[in-house]
Symmetry: C2
Subunit: 329 residues, 2 copies
């Protein structure tokens, strides 16, 4: 049997999937965050995240430790042939055997998954945000992704942070009142004024602020005007990066598929509707499409591609069906 | 001779002044940042900042190590009778002898200085931002000051960060073009795309981002529309915190003096004009007034007050004249 490995490594968690040559997903595993490989403790964190996810997937598949035909890693904060990519390669080398190992960004596997390796653009809003596209000529463009302080407009962190700021403004009397003033402390289990201090002291991390995004989108869905404004601003920021990518590439038939990927979009139409309107206004040829596969499946597609295995309709259908099945268990 | 000591301790630097009972400023000294006393290395940093500033002021005054009647410290991130205040008291105790030692926030000495201990409001825009006021009934109110991530609207850091973000947007094609795209890398001496990475890696600190505020205000003064918008947004944020403080207090004659203090206001009318308009719109009774004294002189006034020395017109005039003289040397 030939086995393929695909990994989506993010700032909040790491997802890993195994499949065979037919595209049958055999196991899925999850691990902790695997970002900041060059930071103190970063290599050990990445090792632990990959190993936990790999062991989970192997157990689900009933496999010991197979030799993989190809393994494709899409890691946040890592680009192809960079210093972090070399550090990550050294971390995973002792963990598994693979004939081909590819390491690139998490955005690239999200793009591959969302569009099944076809041309198009992905706009990602997880803990951070970024847009990446590839046109029919094979050229790539990217926008956003400048991190939690300098960018990440429309990301989970930006929405959660915006919610805390709006709540503090309501509390200070410097901004309009909003349900977020009570809703955010309730979700957090701490008083509002404690949240900044806990963050600055390192006792609250960015993913915990990003988790508050769902409080903001829920308040927007309930028509809280402050939350609606935050979500619309986020949608504008995401539309801006997606439209910039669309405009920088070439689309011979005049249309570019744009797929939204990431936890923020689980909120549904409250964010997707303003995103669709804002993209249409900025890049008339862009068409919002639902993502076809998860980023971890995108990594599997890229692993198969690296080994010369074609993405036949049968393989894609089997990947979709077995991923669905394995995700439920 | 009776001597008084006043200190303004900030996130970027520490200013210290000595005066005698008549209000004659005898020496001024400067040290490094003295914030985050409870963080790793914080006590040593505060000790070093205070000692450097104290030695500079004593040398200027030609004094050895006098016993002070009273010493008043206004320290960023420290409030009266708090855990950081106790830690700071333990740090300074071995450095000097004083009959009375008072430790409170940097905002309180800025307020005392700007209004010569009269009722009113101070709106501070240094590396961070905050507003503090005291009404004729002696009641205090505060707004803003939630730090670089959750607040600090209109601060040097917020303006500098906004400038970098706007430049990145121009670079990405996600926002309008602006002179900041070339001006910020020129001032920084690094390419634009490097700035976020250098910050996340800890190789660029917040004061260096805050220092870019002057690039933003200069671009606004030269009518760059993106920079004008950033400065106006900052002015709105500062007006919001000042107006919230004005509204929360009681002003029997219907007017409240609001004094702008901090490095951001060195830009002059480009920030002061929109601030004045925005405060007038939000708190009609507020009147923007120039600050009378520097925060370090405010600390001297509070030290004298603690020792029962009245702020006579003669003392205030001598403080103003001798501070001016000593600052020039």
């Amino acid at each position: 049997m030939e086995y393929f490995l695909g990994v989506d490594g993010g700032a909040t968690s790491t997802a890993l999937a195994l499949c065979d040559r037919e595209g049958r997903v055999l196991g899925i595993g999850h691990g902790g965050p695997s970002n900041h490989i060059l930071a103190p403790g970063g290599e050990e964190r990445a090792r632990s995240a990959v190993l936990t996810a790999l062991n989970g997937a192997l157990a689900g598949a009933g496999l010991e430790s197979p030799a993989f035909e190809a393994a494709h890693f899409g890691m946040t904060g890592i680009s192809r042939d960079s210093e972090p990519a070399r550090a990550f390669a050294a971390v995973v080398a002792p963990l598994l055997t693979a004939r081909i190992v590819r390491i690139e960004s998490d955005a690239s596997v999200a793009l591959a998954g969302a569009l099944a390796c076809r041309p198009g653009v992905v706009v990602i809003a997880g803990t951070g945000s970024v847009s990446l596209g590839r046109d029919p000529l094979g050229r790539e463009a990217r926008a956003g992704g400048w991190g939690y302080l300098f960018g990440d407009e429309g990301s989970g962190f930006a929405l959660g942070l915006g919610g805390v700021r709006a709540a503090l403004h309501a509390h200070d009397g410097t901004g309009p009142s909003t349900v977020l003033e009570t809703e955010i402390p309730r979700r957090f289990g701490r008083s509002l004024g404690e949240i900044p201090l806990l963050f600055y002291e390192g006792r609250v991390q960015r993913p915990e602020i990003a988790a508050l995004a769902s409080a903001v989108t829920a308040a927007a869905a309930a028509a809280d005007p402050v939350a609606v404004s935050l979500v619309n601003t986020g949608a504008e920021g995401l539309a801006a990066i997606a439209a910039a990518v669309v405009r920088r590439l070439t689309w011979p038939d005049g249309t570019a598929a744009v797929a939204p990927v990431g936890g923020v979009f689980r909120a549904g139409s409250v964010i997707l509707a303003p995103l669709k309107a804002a993209i249409a206004a900025r890049a008339p040829g862009a068409v919002l499409v639902p993502p076809r596969f998860e980023p971890a499946v995108g990594a599997l597609l890229l692993a198969m591609q690296a080994a010369g295995v074609a993405h036949s309709p049968e393989r894609l259908a089997l990947l979709a069906a077995t991923w669905e099945l394995r995700s439920r268990t």
